[in-house]
């Protein structure tokens, strides 16, 4: 039976921890193995941090909206903020490559890379205002899950 949760939280690190915990439970309940659970949990955490820190800038007047769903075929995590947004022309492929030699020693800039490495699909959507990230993990057929 599909599972769907949606809620909104304050722009705090406590909210990031809560989002992370719920994502971990959803991944575990979906039958993902330990590594896959870690990957999904970490990706969702990075998305939540982006929303709280970069999107909403810890502004107590802005919320992070989250929608998590197990469709039976996919785990879908939507995380959105109420910040300035990335712009209609935003292209994630245009972000600096953290693996490039000139960037490898940067202190930041690995979050989106980690999200895209650990999830099967990542979509960015400009909201008005804000940004929505959708992270999708395809689930193995029921008989093949751990």
């Amino acid at each position: 039976m599909p599972v769907r949760l949606s809620f909104a939280l304050a722009s705090t690190m406590e909210s990031v921890a809560e989002i992370e915990a719920i994502a971990e439970k959803l991944a575990t309940d979906a039958g993902l193995d330990e590594d896959e659970c870690f990957h999904v949990t970490m990706a969702v955490r990075e998305a939540a941090i982006n929303a709280v820190l970069h999107g909403n800038e810890y502004n107590p007047a802005k919320q992070v909206a989250v929608c998590f769903e197990n469709t039976g075929k996919d785990l879908v995590f939507c995380v959105s903020d109420q910040g300035k947004g990335l712009g209609a022309d935003f292209d994630p492929d245009s972000l600096p490559d953290p693996l490039a030699p000139e960037n490898i020693l940067r202190g930041a800039g690995r979050g989106i890379f980690i999200i895209r490495s650990f999830m099967d699909e990542v979509r960015f959507r400009q909201l008005h205002p804000g940004t929505e990230l959708t992270l999708i993990k395809h689930l193995a057929p029921a008989g093949k899950r751990a």
């Binding site: 990031v16 970490m42 941090i49 693996l99 490898i104 020693l105 930041a108 690995r110 979050g111 980690i114």
Partner: protein, 114 residues
């Protein structure tokens, strides 16, 4: 679980025994402060024992990198010891595995500073 840090010295090498999560906020700040204290007190050989670090996020990775570059700029050496599988895999994914000197054995790590 927050990050706990214990410090000791072995053969002139400052060892920070880390336990917990190196993440945005408390964990990253604690590591940064502990490292800066060592650099500020003149430590030139610093070994981070990561054997009990079970989680690191992108901010934590950034903190490790910042510590590495700060050490280098201060003519000091920063090395890593006993990466857990999760941390090891993240350092490989982000190619940071090629940046740091990483050891599984403390004695060998300590000897490498000489």
């Amino acid at each position: 679980m927050a990050l706990t840090i214990a410090s000791r010295e072995v053969d002139g090498v400052a060892v920070l025994d880390l336990s917990g999560r190196i993440t945005l906020g408390e964990g990253s700040v604690q590591l940064r402060e502990a490292f800066r204290n060592l650099i500020g007190s003149g430590s030139k050989n610093i070994l981070l024992n990561m054997g009990d670090v079970n989680y690191i996020d992108s901010s934590g990775l950034g903190e490790l990198v910042s510590a590495f570059t700060t050490a280098k700029n201060q003519s000091a050496s920063l090395k890593l010891l006993k990466l857990t599988k999760k941390v090891h895999d993240l350092l490989q994914l982000t190619k940071l595995y090629t940046v740091f000197d990483i050891y599984d054995d403390e004695a060998k790590a300590i000897a490498s500073f000489k």
